[in-house]
Symmetry: C2
DNA sequence: GTCTATAATTAGATAGAC
DNA sequence: GTCTATCTAATTATAGAC
């Protein structure tokens, strides 16, 4: 970053942030190929040339926007680990699930973007998998392994289970516009999201720990 | 369709079919905006001009490809209704789920395309919802209502339940390339797909009919 | 029916003034 | 830092030969 007055720095950082936010939205809506940098600039109320100034180009802008989204997710998942270390592995798993649901309810763009990139083998998919998805599911899989060690396992393959949970948790939000049009229900409404989280958590409980008594 | 010799008709129909198949694949991979008609023509090993000849343009080609995909899905779901009319509503629901899983395992493009269009409010989304998604989920919701009438209901909202089932069933397949890269497992392998169907069906059973004994 | 060639539009990138 | 203006390359659409 070059030398600049404080005022300029603040203003510039703000513009940079607005571009990042707009970029996440547009990339999520249109996919990388379909997204137009002009639309991103317009939504950010910024000049087209500033994309090159701040991010060099479309590809790097995409990476910056995705990185920011994952940082937010990681904050959400880490915030106040209110499940004690010695506790039930299933309880810990449930908390992760609940927080994930809350996050995608708040940021449905995240789910949309992931859906879009995970569906074909590309350098961007591998970049995402190596940098974020792999490490983060390693953590999830560790939770599953703990549950397994405590004798709480369904016969479900861990691969199936992971995508079942992610899909069950996320699809209403990634497809929110269709859901609104078809049912009149707005999934991003926090009250709906919380009840949806309940449903997914209940599901995880029965799937992972079939022997456990329902509360 | 204009008058033509039999040979020409056959050859033309074949080209038309190849374009439709390629179109579904490319639209699913890139999204409508990102898809290029040139790529569709190349994959179909057909001339670019034939897209106008057969389908008038990109939009109508998309509609034709989607219609064909839904017809296939409907065939899959309708094929040999081997659940008798008087039978358990949960059993009927499970069969629908199992068949849906088999279908998306065979045609992951379907799930990808739906994910892509359902994520924003557009004329195409509404066209899909009015023409296919609405009517087909009306059938699914009827199954759920039957289960409800038989006293087999979880407290889950039908909206949540629908997207939970679709997401749990479909995400591994729509994200198959990521899954392959990350875990080495190929979800489209029929053996995996069948075990995944087992898992989703077990899940539906506990979610919809929590009182039911596990087999 | 299938092809070549091209028109019209739009994309990402960028030069250079301020 | 932000803007206008423009370049180059791609895109869809299409006219017209065979």
């Amino acid at each position: 970053m070059q030398i600049m007055t404080v005022a300029r720095k603040v203003r510039g950082d703000d513009t940079r942030e607005r571009i990042l936010t707009a970029a996440l939205a547009v990339f999520a809506e249109r996919g990388f190929d379909g997204a137009r940098t002009r639309e991103i600039a317009e939504r950010a109320d910024a000049n087209l040339g500033l994309i090159k100034y701040y991010f060099e180009g479309k590809e790097r802008l995409w990476k910056a926007a995705v990185t920011r989204a994952f940082e937010e997710l990681q904050e959400e998942l880490a915030a106040g680990a209110d499940v004690p270390p010695g506790a039930d592995a299933v309880a810990a798993l449930e908390q992760v699930v609940r927080r994930f649901v809350r996050f995608v309810a708040r940021r449905p763009e995240f789910m949309r973007l992931m859906n879009d990139e995970a569906k074909r083998d590309s350098p961007r998919m591998r970049w995402l998998a190596d940098r974020f998805v792999g490490p983060m599911t390693a953590a999830l899989d560790a939770q599953l392994a703990r549950a397994r060690a405590q004798g709480l396992v369904g016969a479900v393959s861990p691969v199936s289970l992971r995508y079942i949970v992610l899909g069950a948790a996320g699809l209403v939000f990634s497809q929110a516009p269709e859901c609104r049009y078809l049912t009149g229900v707005d999934p991003t409404d926090p009250k709906f999201a919380e009840r949806h989280a309940d449903a997914v958590v209940a599901l995880v409980r029965t799937a992972v720990a079939p022997r456990r008594r329902r509360r």
